[in-house]
Amino acid sequence: MRRSVFIAGLAATLLLGMGALGVSQKNFVASAQQKSETTEVKIDNFTFGPAALTVPVGATVTWTNKDDIPHTVVSTDDPKAFKSKVLDTDEKFSFTFSKAGTYPYFCSIHPKMTGKVIVQ
């Protein structure tokens, strides 16, 4: 009788322990996913940095203009996948990529500035 109680108790503890472990594992995975869902592109010195950015499907990319001159972020696809308004210094533009693919873009004011987002 005691032995079965002991085993039951052990099993219960193990289950609880595993349950707790399971929960914390889920938390860990969730926070890791949150980190890669928002990604930054810094605009400075007439350059998009990084020029090529790879993100998972569903990620939101935020461009921040740190240059002392305004820039825009405009998709080169037809029809345009996204198009920001003009961004002065410290202004931001965000876009969420819900479909996989390669999205080239440029600054419509300074067309030599180009970049791309690879969504996979």
Binding site: N45, F46, T47, D67, D68, I69, P70, T72, T76, K85, V86, D88, T89, P104, Y105, F106, S108, I109, H110, P111, K112, T114
Partner: protein, 322 residues
């Protein structure tokens, strides 16, 4: 240039009393405030300080106008937190010219962010300039957010398509071109098929002796493609102007004066009234160049242009705001 060059005509290709060496020498003088006029087929230069001594007709020829550019109203960072102030200084400079120019050309980037209040402020400041007529072409900063709709409403009356047009003054034919719309990724300035067709038709029936002045924002020659300082299809435009004995191309965009003579075509870019930019390749990027406050006015400027009836090349003189 080695040693002192005698001021004699060596090769008078265009039969107008000036050879390339003489003209280029004169253009170099222009940067230090010299004034060159072609009179009676002979190139003469005077320093700007002597201008008051000269008779008006002798000094100014028959048509005089001013080019200003890149006022960037709304810009407020180093090296210039007060672009309205420096534009006012430019207007004072224009009003101080010994013979008042008949009109002004603004070669674009009137505003910095295409905001209505920025355009309003420039209009207000230019009202105090003696020349009352101003002809505009847009810069890329003037057509943000709305594909140029606001620019065309304000300044595009009588223009075609994206805002191109032409007009005549005292026998000189002026053509305003737009090369800042529909820019393609990785590309330079662009004129586009419709505008080129219009240009071909516009100059088709003009006599080859008609002096032509073309003004557009981005340079129509390849100044520095790495920084977007050029126009992809300008060669086609220049081909339509090949027959003319005198073509002067006035541009802005690069915020520094630069000139180039190619056959019958003189290319010239103006300084900005707002802020300077670095010389090609002399910085990481073509952004605003920071200079000490006391030097700012010396790197901003206006351009005075004169044409003497019957002579080919126009006299183009830059002066700083200092």
């Amino acid at each position: 240039m080695a040693g002192k060059v005698k001021d004699e005509i060596l090769h008078d290709h265009n039969h107008d009393g000036i050879d390339r060496r003489g003209f280029l020498k004169c253009m170099a003088w222009a940067g230090t405030g010299a004034f060159c006029v072609i009179q009676g087929g002979v190139l003469k230069s005077y320093s700007l300080s002597r201008l008051p001594e000269l008779g008006a007709k002798e000094a100014m020829g028959e048509l005089s106008f001013v080019q200003i550019s890149d006022s960037h109203m709304g810009f407020n960072k180093p090296a210039n937190p007060d672009v309205a102030g420096t534009l006012k200084t430019a207007v004072d400079k224009i009003n101080g010219l010994s013979v008042s120019p008949e009109f002004m050309l603004h070669t674009g980037d009137i505003s910095h962010l295409s905001k209505p209040e920025e355009f309003d402020t420039v209009d207000q400041i230019l009202k105090s300039a003696k020349p009352k007529d101003v002809f505009y072409v847009p810069g890329e900063h003037d057509v943000l957010n709305d594909d140029g709709k606001q620019f065309l409403e304000r300044y595009g009356k009588g223009s075609k398509g994206g805002g191109w047009y032409s007009f005549d003054k005292k026998g000189v034919h002026f053509v305003g071109l737009v090369n800042v719309m529909n820019l393609k990724a990785g590309g330079l300035g662009t004129l586009g098929h419709d505008q080129l067709e219009w240009l071909e038709d516009d100059v088709k029936h003009l006599k080859p002796s008609t002096p032509i002045v073309v003004f557009a924002h981005i340079p129509l020659w390849s100044v520095y493609p790495e920084w977007g300082w050029g126009t992809e299809d300008s060669a086609q435009a220049l081909a339509y102007l090949k027959k003319f004995g005198s073509v002067t191309v006035l541009n802005g965009h690069i915020h520094q004066t630069m000139q180039k003579v190619e056959g019958n075509v003189t290319f010239h870019t103006a300084a900005s009234t707002a802020f300077p930019q670095p010389a090609p390749g002399k910085a990481d990027s073509p952004g605003p160049m920071k200079v000490p406050a006391e030097q700012l006015k010396s790197v901003l400027g206006i351009t005075d242009v004169n044409h003497v009836q019957g002579q080919h090349a126009l006299a183009v003189v830059d002066s700083s705001l200092a």
